[in-house]
């Protein structure tokens, strides 16, 4: 069974806070590749990381990560 398809506005929030991918990666404790993968919707972050990102931008998780409702077979 797949997971719910997600879209995210990480790139938008990162631009709003004037952060580079490298800076964001350092702040949330992941690699730059992970930030790139999340931004391009190739990798779905864990709940812990999603909350970390939301806390960093001082918004709710659902403001950044949007559940599109349908199931996606390409889970991670």
């Amino acid at each position: 069974m797949g997971v719910a398809a997600m879209k995210n506005k990480l790139k938008v929030y990162r631009a709003m806070h004037d952060l580079t991918q490298e800076q964001l990666a350092d702040k949330i404790g992941v690699s730059r590749q992970t930030v790139i993968a999340i931004e391009s919707n190739k990798y779905l972050p864990s709940l812990g990381l999603a909350f970390k990102i939301a806390r960093l931008f001082k918004v709710k998780v659902e403001d950044i990560f949007i559940d599109e409702g349908k199931e996606d077979e390409n889970d991670n």
């Binding site: 404790g29 590749q33 992970t34 993968a37 990798y43 972050p45």
Partner: protein, 143 residues
């Protein structure tokens, strides 16, 4: 505490391994057990100090990749080696393997090794599955 990412840790580990292998190589040339032991112990102590003094930051995406790769490796390796073991020990004439004579004699032994290897792999998988299942809340009847 120093924070080190996984990539840097891997580079450091490779450098230490290179150093240890150079020392061991030198020890072999000089026929010195002491030098080899000292080299290996130095490497081990250094890596232990690095692990205890530095916090190694693991990337969750990398962990996911490792999990998937491990699962795929198991899914491919276990049946392949199991089938290979079965074929090598396949009895044909009066319960004797087709390979159990002449120059092919080693094949049956190899098949036996493969069979035990497969069993070992399955046992390790079962034990670790049981362990992680318990660790992540499985197996209980609590409501």
């Amino acid at each position: 505490m120093i924070v080190m990412d996984r990539k840097k840790y891997k580079q450091l580990r490779a450098a230490v391994a290179l150093f240890v292998s150079a020392i061991v190589g030198l020890a072999v040339v000089r026929d010195s057990y002491l030098l080899a032991t000292a080299g290996v112990l130095t490497g081990m102590v250094f890596m232990f100090l690095v692990r205890s003094k530095a916090k190694i930051r693991t990337d969750e995406r990398e962990l996911t990749i490792q999990e998937k790769a491990a699962r795929m490796t198991y899914a491919i390796f276990a049946p392949t080696i199991g089938i290979a073991a079965f074929l090598m020990m396949l009895p044909t004439k009066g319960g004797i393997s087709v390979f159990s004579k002449g120059e092919w004699l080693f094949m049956e032994t190899l098949g036996m090794v493969f069979a035990y290897l497969t069993l070992f792999l399955i046992v390790i998988y079962a034990i670790s599955y049981h362990f992680f299942n318990k660790r992540y809340g499985g197996g209980g009847n609590e409501e």
